[in-house]
């Protein structure tokens, strides 16, 4: 059941939480990724937050482009083709997978999990991508920017942390917008999945008993929220949308109600995540690495 808040001049918001509703709203013609900022102050604030995700030349990152944008479709197809070559890609990031496996098993690593994940994700794009504490800080700043309240938002922007973070991520991504999105924002889902794996590994002898696919099913995390705007009013499935509503698709919450792991990646929708094959394979390999080490030691 969707949840609606409408305070004139302040906010017009719809939160969608069930899997069918999420898919219906995601597919609705009147719902788009572009945010006009109309509908209230909060709507304007969110639109302003997302508007910063552009290249220095002003191009919007592909993940924020609309359904009918030919560039989005082209980016998606090209990236999906690259990331579908799963075997060699996982081979390329085998050291990072081993490191993450060690963390899942022991709870310790030479560097923070975020840095390892960022480097693994970055190396899916560039074999020599090198993440650091600074680059991971930049990613965390951008993630915080998206979820922060007004004061923190003001702080992040006015002290220059936002621009520094964007510049650092874009530099490391060599201008590749998909890489920037993956290493700044999307990587957080993998970090949360790894943390969930670690928690699972600590439960008794899960690491021995649970296979990689089952571990994946239990620990895969989807984006907590995906933001859209209803340009016009209407019904999407059973969800009634008012014009200029900010629409929050609570993907992670919906995912927990559906067994299909593809749901986390919108695998059957127009906005299918290009990493829908490689990320599950990566996580399964991390579990395998943790398991193998454990069995090796035993």
């Amino acid at each position: 059941m969707a949840f609606t808040i409408n305070i004139p001049g302040i906010i017009r918001l719809v939160v969608v939480r069930t899997p069918d509703e999420v898919l219906a709203v995601n597919d609705a013609s009147m719902v788009g990724r572009s945010l006009s900022g109309r509908g209230g102050l909060a709507n304007r604030s969110v639109a302003a937050k997302l508007a910063v995700f552009r290249t220095p030349g002003g191009d919007i990152w592909p993940a924020f482009r609309d359904r009918l944008d030919p560039l989005r479709a082209a980016h998606q197809a090209a990236l999906e083709a690259t990331l579908s070559n799963v075997g060699p890609l996982l081979q390329r990031i085998a050291p990072e997978i081993a490191e993450l496996g060690g963390y899942v098993r022991d709870g310790t690593a030479h560097r923070s999990t975020g840095v390892i994940v960022q480097q693994a994700v970055g190396r899916l794009f560039f074999a020599d991508y090198a993440a650091s504490e600074e680059s991971y800080d930049a990613a965390r700043t951008l993630q915080a920017w998206l979820s922060a309240g007004p004061l923190r938002t003001f702080w992040i922007r006015s002290w220059g942390a936002l621009q520094v973070s964007l510049d650092r991520i874009m530099d490391l991504s060599r201008g590749d917008m998909a890489c920037a999105h993956a290493t700044a924002i999307a990587m957080d889902n993998i970090v949360r999945s790894i943390e969930a794996m670690r928690r699972l590994a600590r439960q008794g002898d899960s690491l021995t008993k649970i296979g990689p696919q089952d571990a994946l099913a239990q620990t895969l995390r989807a984006p907590a929220r995906v933001v859209r705007e209803a340009r016009d009013g209407g019904c999407a499935g059973r969800v009634r949308l008012r014009a200029r509503s900010l629409v929050l698709l609570a993907v992670e919450s919906a995912r927990q109600k559906r067994a299909d792991p593809g749901f986390a990646f919108f695998a059957s929708a127009w906005n299918r995540c290009p990493a829908h094959s490689v990320v599950p394979a990566l996580l399964a390999d991390v579990w395998r690495a943790a398991k193998a080490d454990r069995e090796g030691r035993a």
Binding site: S29, M30, G32, I60, R65, R231, D232, A243
Partner: protein, 602 residues
């Protein structure tokens, strides 16, 4: 500034910001059309500034450089409109893209089945089809011909080609004869095949085959080759046949040889002939004053003067004719020649467009490079102006005969003109009414229209599909984006009996109402011939056509036009042009102050 708008930015001064705040408060209590004339006129100027700041969006040029311009000829209009702006030579050039009045993410077509929902054919039959002719009694039929004459100056998307048609499922009881697999087919607008800029997003782009400028391109063409075809190459004149009329276009049977002759009919032929004669009269007058001028100089100068005269007629005669509101009449006069108050002129200064009119004021593109916009073409879908029948009257014998417009167009046009004569047809147009721009008044012959090289057309259904495929927002969002409040119910749109219920039955949600339907249904301000929502685009673009054009602003001066030319523009209007070339119309025009108002039936 942004690269999206090619570096152009809108700058408003303190007085404008102050007025903006004041009028937001005023409009909270009263709509602009309920205010006194002067206060209402200032309200319109405030609207215009807001629209200039927020409703001009560049969609890229989509074109390279021009071959139709040669250095040293900057004092003339180039055939294709290039180099009107010397700093941005592609701006407004024939073949360049249409711009947008809304941010590009708002200009995205519906996806999937929603694009065809509800069926345009159902809308054509249930909401647009003419039941009985509703006349616009304050206008004559020349007003209908005039706006098509003008839109042929401003834009053309080109003739759609076969392939990848929209397939509109037909209701079993629909008598549409040209069914293909149970569907009506509508060809798509010609694609823009030029490379897309990455910042365009999902907004579709289309190119204008004509020059975007108000340069009388419908008479003079939008290319050097077309211009060469229509010229006599003697004394700057346009070729006229031995009968005093434009010759036939050998490539377009039934149409006159002129700059742009698509969708040809008698109304267009009358106006093209009239202003071709005006051009040649200007050439004679210029040659008498400047005997040393060559053919090229005479042609180009006469073109400048003729184009400006047409713009003036449109601004201060056609517009107040169809939008007969005192504030608007005042504003349009101010647009052309400034306010009639000396004190205000002194205070506002010499360069103020409000004080002295736009002609002669500094050129300004405001927030985007000049281009006609898709939204502008949408609000100028005024087909209900066309009647299905008219009385053709003879000026000499007082006889009249009822004729169908379907027999006055396409390949039949020239035969009809020859049978009835230029003078009689002008008189007939001056004494017939056009249709009112309302629901249930779309000419039925255009709803089953045969056109050479095209399938059978339902122009009403096509009008609906054109807005949808080009990503023009539907009516309610369109309202919001031009600064009006969204409506919540169908009854808030219209008080036409039964219309709200019919719209609800077809659309279900008020946000789905097509732009054209909303514009035709909307209740009108006092004296208005079309909707206030369409008028918002009009407020912006009517001034912009003048203010962006170097030849109406920086170069509207004697060195370019000659003093004789500027005086000619000042001293003439539609009535004087008519009387100069067809003096027999004198009695019919006796006492008529606006050439687009009904003339005397003798």
């Amino acid at each position: 500034m942004s690269r999206q708008n090619d570096g152009f930015d809108f700058h408003d001064g303190l007085p404008q910001q102050f007025l903006d705040v004041v009028y937001r408060a005023v409009n909270f209590f009263a709509k602009w059309d309920r205010l006194s004339t002067l206060v209402g006129a200032v309200n319109l100027a405030v609207f215009r500034d807001r629209l200039r700041a927020h409703n001009l969006h560049h969609a890229g040029y989509g074109i390279g450089t021009s071959d139709d311009w040669s250095a040293g000829n900057a004092r003339w209009r180039s055939p294709d409109g290039s180099f009107n702006s010397l700093g941005h030579p592609r701006m407004g050039m024939a073949g360049s893209r249409f711009g947008r009045n809304f941010p590009l993410p708002e200009c995205v077509p519906d996806s999937g089945d929603d694009l065809l929902d509800p069926s345009p054919r159902v809308i054509s039959r249930e909401l647009l089809a003419r039941r009985t002719f509703i006349p616009a009694t304050t206008l004559n039929l020349l007003a209908a011909a005039w706006i098509q004459f003008e839109t042929h100056n401003w834009f053309s998307h080109g003739l759609p080609k076969r392939g990848d048609e929209f397939k509109i499922p037909l209701h079993p009881d629909d008598d549409w004869p040209d069914r293909v697999d149970g569907c009506m087919q509508i060809r798509r607008t010609l694609k823009d095949e030029t490379p897309r800029e990455t910042w365009l997003g999902a907004a579709p782009t289309f190119r204008n085959n004509n020059s975007h400028w108000w340069d009388a391109g419908q008479i003079y063409g939008s290319s050097h080759s077309r211009q060469a075809e229509i010229r006599s190459h003697t004394d700057g004149k346009i070729t006229i046949g031995p009968d005093g009329m434009l010759p036939e276009d050998p490539k377009h049977p039934g149409a006159d040889l002129t700059g742009f002759n698509d969708n040809w009919w008698v109304g267009l032929s009358l106006l093209h002939n009239l202003f071709a004669r005006e051009h040649n009269a200007l050439c004679d007058a210029l040659k008498a004053r400047y005997p040393a001028w060559c053919d090229e100089e005479l042609f180009q100068r006469a073109r400048l003067i003729n184009a400006a005269l047409i713009a003036k007629i449109h601004t201060i005669e056609w517009t107040p004719g169809i939008l007969a509101h005192p504030a608007l009449k005042f504003s349009m006069r101010a647009n052309w020649s400034g306010v009639p108050y000396r004190v205000m002129r002194f205070v506002l200064g010499k360069n103020s467009e409000a004080a002295y009119g736009i002609p002669g004021s500094p050129t300004d593109q405001h927030s985007a490079p000049y281009a006609m916009t898709e939204e502008f073409t949408s609000v100028y879908r005024l087909h209900p102006l066309i009647p299905d029948e008219m009385d053709v009257r003879r000026l000499d014998r007082g006889e009249q005969v009822r004729c169908e417009l379907v027999n006055m167009q396409g390949v039949s046009t020239r035969v009809f003109m020859e049978d009835h004569g230029f003078t009689n047809l002008l008189y007939s147009f001056g004494t017939n009414h056009p249709g009112a721009i309302r629901l249930h008044n779309f000419p039925n012959f255009l709803r089953r229209f045969e056109k050479v090289d095209q399938p059978l057309l339902d122009v009403a259904a096509i009008d609906i599909m054109r807005d949808r495929e080009r990503g023009v927002p539907r009516y309610n969002r369109f309202r919001e984006l031009v600064g009006k409040r969204r409506v919540g119910t169908f009854e808030e749109i219209t008080s036409i009996p039964g219309a709200a219920a019919k719209m609800r039955e077809i659309y279900k949600s008020v946000d789905r109402v097509d732009l054209l339907v909303g514009l035709l249904a909307e209740d009108l301000p006092e004296g208005f011939g079309f909707s206030d929502t369409a008028f918002r685009i009009f407020i912006l673009m009517a001034s912009r056509r003048l203010k962006s054009d170097r030849f109406f602003t920086d170069d509207y001066r004697p060195e370019v036009y000659t003093q004789f030319g500027l005086d000619w523009i000042d001293n003439n209007g539609l009535k004087s042009v008519l009387l100069r070339h067809v003096p027999q119309l004198g009695p019919a025009l006796e006492g008529v102050t606006n050439g687009f108002a009904p003339w005397n039936v003798l």
